[in-house]
Amino acid sequence: MTATSGLAGVPLAVTPLTRKDLASDQEVRWCPGCGDYAILAAVQGALADLGVRRENLVIVSGIGCSSRFPYYMNTYGVHSLHGRAPALATGIALARPDLSVWVVTGDGDALSIGGNHLVHALRRNVNLTILLFNNRIYSLTKGQFSPTSERGTVTKTSPEGSVDAPLDPITLALGAGATFVARAIDSDRELLADVLGAAAGHRGAALVEIYQNCPIFNDGAFDALRRKDAPALIRLRHGEPITFGDGLGVVRDPGTGRLAVARVAEVGTDRVLVHDAHDPDPTTAFALARLTDAPLTRAPVGVFRAVTAPVFDDDARAQVRMPAASDRLAALQRLVTGPDTWTV
């Protein structure tokens, strides 16, 4: 039997939760104007909307500004080590199918020091929802370039501009075989709520990249996308043609198969690519992710990919057969004794 919802097996709340029920009594200590405030509010709202019990929510984080997240949630939570949240979360998810397990991480945490764990959690398809707050900077250590900083970013450790090529979390996740990949923006509450709900409902690993503004060390990094009607926003909606900005659309070059941006009026509506998030082949999702440019003038947001695949923790548990409590010691005694014994 294969569960289809990410929340299958998680007990439901008797009385619906509100956003306030999920706020802990701790004072929130992010900098004024930090994008994390908006994300916290959106996550609290989205989690309340899931309808599951508060005590069955577990939030695991690594290290960085975003990783303080669990302290502000009145749920179970672990603030773990830099980069290692997916590892702890994998253990929790394997151990307990009745928990909804969330990972909160940042670009440095998930993609630099913890890149290995992220890749493996995704390719295994562990039933986790991973929220990757991407502010393209190391903020907690006061402003050094991160693995998602654009080339040329001037920081304290790159005074003449960063010469590191940036990593794109979406293409990385797709390359790792992730079954659910989405992008949202801290400033778009509605989009964030939609994506979080879809991610929580996905059975398997869901990666949600959230563009998050750091007002102190990388202010304005996503200004091109902040307005709801920003022409740079390419909104992906399953089953709908991909259009954006002032009459632009995404089309496929019939010769090369590559994606390109064209004026819809010039190429005709029929040629505009219709988004298929359920396409088993990730090639088009990858090509869509590659439309994100630098400096940032356009970026797709929404769900790139949502497909069904075997779920690691479900399959691992299915192989385990715990003897009945009354027989457990006897069963183990048989194993301890083994087939070859002799008596003195």
Binding site: Q26, N74, Y76, V78, L81, L332, T337
Partner: protein, 615 residues
């Protein structure tokens, strides 16, 4: 027909190319020993390369077996019998053989090319250089090939049965009943009748060759041992470790979770537990050592008995997560099957050089219990004890084993699991603070904090690597609170009850005390026994708990004029004992990747005792 001579013990080493099946041959001979009721200890010795170049010294794989009529403590250091399947095996092992010992060598492999490969200028089987030994140069390959002719195997497959021919010959030489192995071959190769019949034929041919040849003047018989009454099985250290962990989980009525990454010589712990899914064991083969312990810690947080198993290089990588486990105060067992280091070192060879890393190798003040296993079967008890302490005190616990314990095997009196102590994990079910609040760092009488599992309503709480406020567990940067917490964490570990250090001093008036830890237990015990048989006095004591140390340790050390501390490292326990107790212990160290030699230790002890008594 040869005479039968009775021996009370014998050490046999099977040595050949790593593809020659020496491990299987040794294992089968061990099983035959079981049927005659011998006590035994075994030690496989294999190269780090799976198939090193054929016929080279680097590619030699061997299996040593010590069988006897009484209380065998170690696999022995000087073989009495060497089976050498090629020149490389002879070259690599001859130095260890007892002078006058028996050599069985396969002449077919002693070709000019093979001799040259290992630097023999002339053939040692014919040049009289082995005159000091009882040499039996036999064409094992040729005789095997002829014995299996009727099965029409390829030349290569036919020659591969030579290990069974050699085993058959040894079966005869040691007056064993060949029926057991014939049955074993029936079962092992049931699906391959041709291979089955060929192996049986080669085995029988080896046995009959012994009977008909006149080259052996004597057969041997090692009578059964008078072991303590009970039902026994053979067990390796890694298997016993896995079983001990399972037993602890069962007695705590918790699921067992192992997160591990394959690493020599610890992999068999993972393999054994991966095969125990019908015992409710969940194993997670992680992407790396860090994820392995991270997932185990996550599983512990979620209410399983979380365990990770590794060796030195993996310990180095897990260091930060062990520190987190100290801070989170969650149960976690870390099994370190030590191997020779640093770096990759000698991956298949034994050493005890991770002691100080286990005790102190973390940033910040991060004390935790450290327990050492002293023999293959003792890994069961060490694992059980470690898990019990981890669960009762909410702490990571390191269990130190080593390649010698892990791969060695010995008879094990099978424990009755229902007589093992029950472990109460005391999982929190209700609020413990004012106004029905939950205080995750409010401690019990053991100073252990409550273990509240996700899914429990009303106990929602957040934990993490940042310093905790005493009692409430909230983040605290307060200097005095940090000091309080550092001291509380230390006091919790120091307060763990460990049994007093027992001293074995048969005459009660020895002046020299030998203190060991871990797998030196066997060599120290055997050397001390030989010293005593020679009429000298010596006391021994062995530490299972390295942290906290038994309360009487200082008193025991001060009671003796000389304290000798043998270790397979550069003196790590000695450093600790000197620092902790201001006792001028003498360090005795060997770092060759091999168990401490009983013969050497015996001789050195005799010198030490005699010098001391002359003073």
């Amino acid at each position: 027909m040869a005479d039968v001579a009775t021996l009370d013990r014998v050490v046999i080493r099977f040595a050949g190319d790593s593809g020659d099946g020496m491990q299987l041959t040794g294992d089968r001979f061990t099983t035959e020993s079981i049927f005659v009721g011998n006590d035994f200890a075994t030690f496989p010795f294999y190269p780090a390369e799976i198939r090193a170049p054929q016929g080279t010294v680097a590619g030699v794989s061997s299996f040593q077996l010590h069988v006897g009529s009484w209380d065998i403590l170690t696999p022995g250091d000087q073989p009495d019998v060497l089976v050498a399947m090629n020149p490389a095996a002879l070259r690599a092992n001859l130095g260890d053989l007892r002078r006058g010992g028996l050599i069985i060598a396969d002449t077919a492999e002693f070709t000019p090319r093979n001799l040259e490969k290992v630097g023999y200028g002339s053939n040692p089987l014919t040049d009289d250089s082995l005159a000091g030994y009882e040499l039996h140069a036999l064409d094992l390959t040729g005789m095997s090939v002829r014995a299996v002719e009727q099965f029409h195997l390829g030349r290569k497959d036919a020659a591969r049965t030579k290990n069974m021919f050699a085993l058959g010959l040894l079966t005869w030489l040691f007056s064993r009943d060949p029926a057991h192995n014939l049955e074993f071959l029936d079962a092992k190769f049931a699906a391959h009748p041709q291979i089955r019949d060929a192996n049986k034929a080669a085995y029988s041919a080896g046995y009959h060759f012994g009977e008909t040849t006149e080259s052996f003047t004597s057969r041997y018989h090692v009578p059964g041992a008078s072991l303590e009454r009970g039902t026994y099985r053979q067990v390796t250290g890694n298997r016993a470790m896995a079983l001990g962990l399972m037993a602890a989980a069962a007695r705590a009525e918790l699921p067992l979770f192992l997160g591990a990454y394959p690493i020599t010589p610890a992999t068999d712990v993972l393999v054994t537990l991966a095969e125990a899914k019908d015992q409710g064991v969940l194993t997670f083969q992680a992407e790396d050592e860090i994820a392995a312990i991270g997932a185990a810690l996550g599983a512990s947080y979620a209410g399983h008995l979380g365990v990770t198993s590794t060796s030195g290089p993996g310990m180095a990588l897990k260091t930060e997560m062990i520190g987190l486990a100290v801070m989170l105060e969650l149960p976690l067992v870390i099994v370190d099957v030590q191997r020779a280091g640093p770096a990759t070192g000698l991956p298949t060879k034994t050493e005890q050089a991770d002691l100080l890393m286990a005790l102190f190798g973390r940033h910040g003040e991060a004390p935790l219990p450290v327990i050492a296993a002293q023999s293959p079967s003792d890994c069961f008890d060490a694992a059980f004890d470690a898990a019990r302490i981890a669960l009762e005190y909410r702490t990571p616990v390191i269990v130190l084993s080593d390649a010698y314990c892990a791969n060695g095997a010995e008879p094990w009196r099978i424990p009755d699991l229902s007589t093992l102590p029950a472990i109460d994990p005391r999982i929190a079910t209700a609020p413990n603070g004012p106004g029905d609040s939950f205080q995750p760092y409010r401690r019990d009488e053991r100073l252990a904090r409550p273990w509240a599992l996700p899914g429990t309503p009303g106990l929602e709480h957040r934990i993490g690597g940042l310093e905790k406020a005493d009692v409430t567990g909230e983040i605290s940067y307060d200097p005095l609170n940090h000091e309080t917490m550092v001291r509380l964490r230390a006091a919790k570990i120091d307060g763990i009850g460990v049994p007093d250090l027992a001293v074995d001093d048969p005459t009660g008036d020895a002046e020299v005390l030998v203190v060991g830890w871990g797998s030196t237990w066997g060599p120290i015990g055997a050397a001390a026994r030989r010293v005593r048989v020679g009429g000298r006095r010596v006391a021994t004591a062995h530490l299972r708990h390295l942290n906290p140390l038994p309360a009487n340790t200082g008193d025991v050390l001060r009671r003796y004029r000389t304290v000798l501390v043998p270790e397979m490292n550069s003196g790590q326990l000695a450093l600790l004992l000197r620092a902790r107790y201001l006792v001028d212990v003498q360090s005795y160290t060997k770092v060759r990747g091999l168990p401490i030699s009983i013969g050497e230790l015996e001789a050195d002890l005799i010198t030490l005792i005699d010098t001391q008594e002359a003073r």
